[in-house]
């Protein structure tokens, strides 16, 4: 009966992995156990037989065959680049009807989609106003809300001033009457408001400065 730990020491000794201390332990054990000694001798003999097997020389042509078989045109570091490049080149130079059809269909679809979605936008930016005709004006203050209505009763000038607003448009409606001509001044903060136009209800009676 051979103890497993000594079998392990035998193998380590054959491999030259044993410390001097363990070597001495093993030798002592082998001296006291003939079966272990026989087993160790067999292992040692097997190892020696393996090491004595002569090496074979490959045929002289092996190296030539290897060097001829390797594709040195494909340098390993550039292989990835050449693969991509060759695929790209094949795509453009090799005729492939299926790819051609797909390409044409793609172009047509792209053109249609572009014209549908961008057509309005393009047209909207290209209105030729020189061909427009008719009268364009604000609707008669229907949508305007009155912010303030101030009655005017100054000397012989009577009427009212309404301030109306619709979104960002403010309309001052001056409805004033007087037997004599008078000046009406409208002061506003130019940083806050921008004068757009003045529309007299009776143009012959009004002069705008």
């Amino acid at each position: 009966m051979i103890e497993d730990r000594y079998i392990e020491l035998m193998h380590q000794e054959i491999d030259g992995e044993l410390s001097e201390k363990d070597c001495q332990r093993l030798r002592k054990y082998l001296q006291s156990n003939p079966d272990a000694q026989s087993f160790y001798q067999d292992l040692r003999r097997a190892s020696i037989l393996l090491s004595e097997i002569p090496e074979f020389e490959p045929s002289p042509n092996l190296k030539k065959h290897i060097m001829n078989s390797v594709d040195f045109k494909k340098i390993p570091s550039q292989k990835q680049f050449s693969i991509s490049f060759s695929r790209l080149r094949r795509f453009f130079t090799s005729p492939n009807p299926k790819l051609a059809y797909a390409f044409v269909v793609g172009i047509v679809i792209g053109f249609l989609l572009t014209s549908i979605f961008l057509g309005d936008f393009i047209q909207g930016n290209k209105i030729d106003i020189s061909e427009l005709y008719g009268t364009i004006g604000l609707k008669e203050l229907e949508n305007f809300s009155t912010l303030k209505s101030t009655p005017i009763d100054v000397s012989d000038i009577h009427g009212y001033i309404d301030v109306k607003q619709y979104r960002k448009i403010i309309v001052f409606k001056l409805a004033l009457k007087s037997p004599r001509p008078f000046d009406a001044h409208l002061n506003y903060d130019p940083d806050f408001m921008k004068f757009t136009s003045f529309k007299p209800l009776s143009p012959s009676t009004v002069t705008l400065d």
């Binding site: 067999d42 090491s51 002569p54 092996l62 065959h65 290897i66 060097m67 390797v70 340098i75």
Partner: protein, 182 residues
């Protein structure tokens, strides 16, 4: 030093230096050839497999991690190719025998060859995973750590498998009469 030499040659190969690859072939073709032969026991196949090993090594050179030794990486390719060969092989082949010219007399040469053949046949009786570890240790002279790297198994598993392989081989050699007890 060897690691740096091999890594230098690998870097040269990656830059397209054909001579550098030739240097690697010169250095390792015999070891790989013998390793593969011990595994498959067929000279022609061993040459084919060796050729395949170097072709694949060149193609995969970019994937080689310089953290490891080049020969470990190369031996790993050889092990995989040898195992692939074994899977494809259906029936046993006749044992190849080679008589090497020597200055010994014919009888001594015959005995030597006979012994080598017996040992080789005994090796072939081992399971592939035991056979490969015997080959790496006793023919390629790899350390436990190197074998661990090549086979991608822990060192403790390398030891247990190697020790088991040796013990089985011992039994086979005794059965064949190669090892005798007086």
């Amino acid at each position: 030093m060897m690691k740096n030499d091999d890594h230098f040659l690998v870097r040269q190969c990656l830059e397209g230096n054909q001579t550098a690859f030739e240097g690697l072939v010169d250095k390792y073709q015999k070891i790989i050839y013998n390793m593969v032969y011990r595994f498959c026991k067929d000279f022609d196949e061993a040459e084919d497999i060796t050729q395949t090993v170097f072709i694949k090594a060149y193609e995969k050179l970019k994937t080689f991690n310089a953290k490891y030794k080049f020969f470990s990486w190369l031996y790993r390719i050889a092990v995989n190719e040898s195992l692939n060969f074994l899977k494809k092989k259906k029936d046993g082949k006749n044992i190849d025998t080679i008589i090497q010219c020597s200055e010994q007399n014919p009888e001594q040469t015959y005995l030597q060859v006979e012994l080598s053949e017996n040992i080789q046949r005994s090796l072939m009786q081992l399971q592939p995973n035991y056979r490969i570890i015997i080959i790496l240790r006793h023919f390629a002279h790899c350390s436990y750590n190197e074998i661990s790297e090549i086979l991608d198994i822990p060192v403790r598993k390398v030891k247990s498998r190697l020790y088991s392989a040796r013990q089985i081989l011992r039994e086979i050699l005794i059965q064949r009469g190669v090892i005798t007890h007086d």
